[in-house]
């Protein structure tokens, strides 16, 4: 059985490292693809640019997204992928430091499935990552695209 692919969109290398470390500690084994900005995330999703020729098996089953990204920001990424039939129902979880009401509202309006504020506690953070991944990839039932 092939591993589920998670697309992690995080611009800050330290944040990415912490998140990847969190994934590494998990019992579940996921194929985590890191995108450094919105552009790269969209390239990976739609197999273009630097990710042309991405194996279709690696099509992400879960997208974990930071909102503040250089260039194309998180909102725009959500907007673009939701317009595409392949990703209309793909779970998108926003993981960010902002708990601003306007950000939460805008995210939900664009069709994200979950909005998480990064907890300060790193232990907690790993748990959250695992919980989210497990839930959306294993428990949640989504319509077929």
């Amino acid at each position: 059985m092939s591993k589920d692919t998670i697309l992690l969109v995080e611009d800050h290398p330290d944040e990415a490292e912490l998140a990847l470390r969190g994934f590494a500690k998990m019992a579940d084994d996921y194929d985590v693809q890191l995108a450094r900005d919105g552009e790269e995330a969209l390239d990976f999703l739609f197999s273009r640019g630097q990710h042309r020729g991405r194996p279709s098996a690696r099509k992400p089953g879960l997208i974990i997204l930071d909102l503040s990204l250089p260039g194309i920001d998180g909102f725009e990424v959500v907007q673009q992928l939701r317009e595409h039939s392949d990703y209309r129902y793909t779970p998108v979880v926003v993981l960010t430091t902002s708990d601003e009401q306007s950000d939460i509202l805008q995210s939900y309006n664009l069709g994200v499935n979950s909005y998480l504020c990064k907890p300060l506690d790193f232990e907690n953070f790993s748990d959250v990552l695992q919980l989210v991944s497990h839930y959306w990839l294993r428990n949640n039932a989504a319509p077929r695209p």
Binding site: D99, K118, E123
Partner: protein, 521 residues
């Protein structure tokens, strides 16, 4: 300057068609003519009667003087004598003819003798029987017919009438003219003087006194009264007019001053509006800046803090066994530092959020709100005995969401500073004794020293040692900000060890202009 019209024009006007003089003249002439006619009539009638009686007297004299001799002459048939006698009678005044007719009984060819021509009109005819006494027996022998004319009487009467009428008429006319002149001199002239003076009288012009061009009578007459009354009226009018003009001028000055003031107010208002617009714009800009600042705090300050904590954790996990001495202690200090920082950021965000956004004010049961928050607190620490004394159904117009933050902050405080008590007692009530709603929320905690009360609501300032009570000192600042947004005031009363009570009011002023709606994103 005395004013008088020229006499000739006044006299002419006195005779004018509608003048009193003309009417007076006509009336005097009419009346006086009537009187003259009447008196002339009476006089003529008296004369007529006198003349008539004179004729009758004369005829009576003829009867007594001539009748006997004429009878004798007729008896004797002395024609010559008879003729003489008749001539004598005939020459008496007014007698026109005298005739003797013999009694025709028993006489052939009776005698008829007449002197003069009788007149038929305006005639007095008298007949006498001629009786001749013969031996004590009277015999009727004939008639004497005397015809007297009244022409003379009438002629005299006519002449007299003409003379009387002429003299009376002239007299009447002259007297009338005289009366008219006198009337003109005494009244009409002055009346027209008064009339012209009155018609030329103008308010506001220097007034002259009305005087009449005449020698003043010894005692003031009606004209003097009129003149005096009019002069007084003129003076009064003039004074009233002057007063009115003064008032008018005053009013005009007032109006000018008011207009100036209005312009000034308008100008100031425009300036004020301009300033208000400017300040509002500045305020909006500042608020926007604050909002975006809060946003970046929430987003950008938390991230590095989180990373510090993340890598601290990794350090402990991966390299924990390589660390020696106090390293573990220092790492735990880093942890508590970052935790405190994170709390401060959260609190700061809460504070900034209650100051932003539009208030959604609705009628809220504050008692229920207090009860609910109290219940939440109790659920969090179910082992601590706590009691709430609550005045039920205290309602107020507040933003329910933000007010919950306020109640939570106050109860958090009460809870926190009652830690050492066996039982936490919280009271919520409303005091209306001062005529305004004052809401009181009290506890039985450690209280505070009133000399630090002014620092109570300052952000990040604390009245107690951090070791004794946790928290970062922003709760009450948030509370005050919320009350301020609800147009109220908040103050506290306490003494160390005796609990603290927070009092607040709502809607003492309109906060509409202080509220702005700002959203980020």
């Amino acid at each position: 300057m005395p004013y008088s019209p020229s006499p000739s024009s006044g006299l002419r006007s006195a005779f004018s068609r509608r003048g009193i003089g003309r009417r007076l003249l006509l009336l005097i002439i009419l009346f006086s003519s009537c009187v003259t006619l009447l008196s002339t009539g009476v006089q003529l009638y008296v004369d007529y009667q006198r003349d008539l009686s004179a004729i009758n007297t004369r005829l009576d004299e003829v009867e007594s003087g001539y009748l006997g001799s004429i009878s004798a002459s007729l008896w004797n048939l002395d024609i010559r004598q008879l003729q003489l006698q008749l001539e004598g009678v005939r020459h008496l005044p007014d007698i026109q003819s005298v005739a003797v007719y013999e009694n025709p009984q028993g006489v052939d060819n009776p005698l008829a003798l007449r002197i003069g021509e009788p007149v038929e009109q305006r005639a007095i005819v008298r007949e006498y029987r001629l009786v001749y006494h013969l031996g004590g027996e009277g015999r009727d022998i004939g008639r004497l017919v005397i015809n007297a004319s009244m022409d003379e009487v009438y002629r005299r009467l006519w002449e007299k009438a003409v003379v009387i009428l002429m003299t009376q008429g002239v007299k009447t006319f002259v007297v009338s003219l005289f009366i008219l002149y006198i009337f003109y001199r005494l009244v009409t002239q002055h009346l027209s003087t008064i009339a012209q003076f009155v018609s030329r009288f103008k308010l506001g012009k220097a007034t002259s006194q009305l005087t009449l061009a005449r020698t003043p009578p010894r005692k003031a007459d009606e004209l003097d009264q009129v003149t005096h009354a009019f002069n007084e009226l003129g003076d009064n009018l003039h004074q009233a007019y002057e007063a009115l003009r003064e008032v008018n001028a005053e009013l005009e000055r007032d109006i000018i001053a008011r207009r100036r003031a209005e312009e000034e107010v308008k100008r100031l208002n425009e300036g004020l509006e301009q300033r208000v617009r400017q300040r509002t714009a500045e305020l909006e800009a500042a608020n926007k800046e604050l909002a975006s600042f809060s946003y970046s705090v929430s987003h950008d300050l938390r991230a590095p803090l989180r990373r510090i904590e993340g890598f601290r954790r990794i350090l402990v996990e991966d390299c924990g066994h390589d660390l020696h001495g106090d390293a573990g202690h220092y790492l735990s200090r880093i942890e508590s530092g970052t935790r405190e920082m994170a709390e401060m950021i959260d609190s700061f965000l809460r504070l900034s959020r209650v100051t932003q956004g539009e208030l959604c004010v609705e009628d809220t049961n504050v008692s229920q709100l207090v009860q609910r928050v109290f219940n939440q607190q109790q659920e969090r620490e179910p082992d601590r005995p706590a009691r709430l004394e609550l005045e039920p159904d205290i309602c107020a117009d507040v933003d329910r969401r933000i007010f919950e933050v306020l109640i939570t902050n106050l109860l958090d405080n009460a809870w926190k500073y009652s830690r050492q008590r066996n039982e936490i007692l919280i009271r919520f009530a409303r005091d209306q004794s001062s005529g305004q709603n004052v809401y009181c929320l009290g506890d039985n905690g450690v209280g505070f020293d009133m000399k630090y009360a002014d620092r109570l609501f300052t952000p990040f300032s604390r009245l107690h040692k951090a070791e004794d009570f946790d928290g970062i000192g922003i709760g009450l600042a948030t509370v005050q900000r919320i009350i301020a947004r609800h147009g109220g005031r908040i103050w506290a009363k306490s003494s160390p060890g005796a609990g603290a009570t927070f009092y607040f009011t709502l809607w003492e002023r309109n906060t509409e202009c202080e509220q702005g709606y700002y959203s980020v994103g």
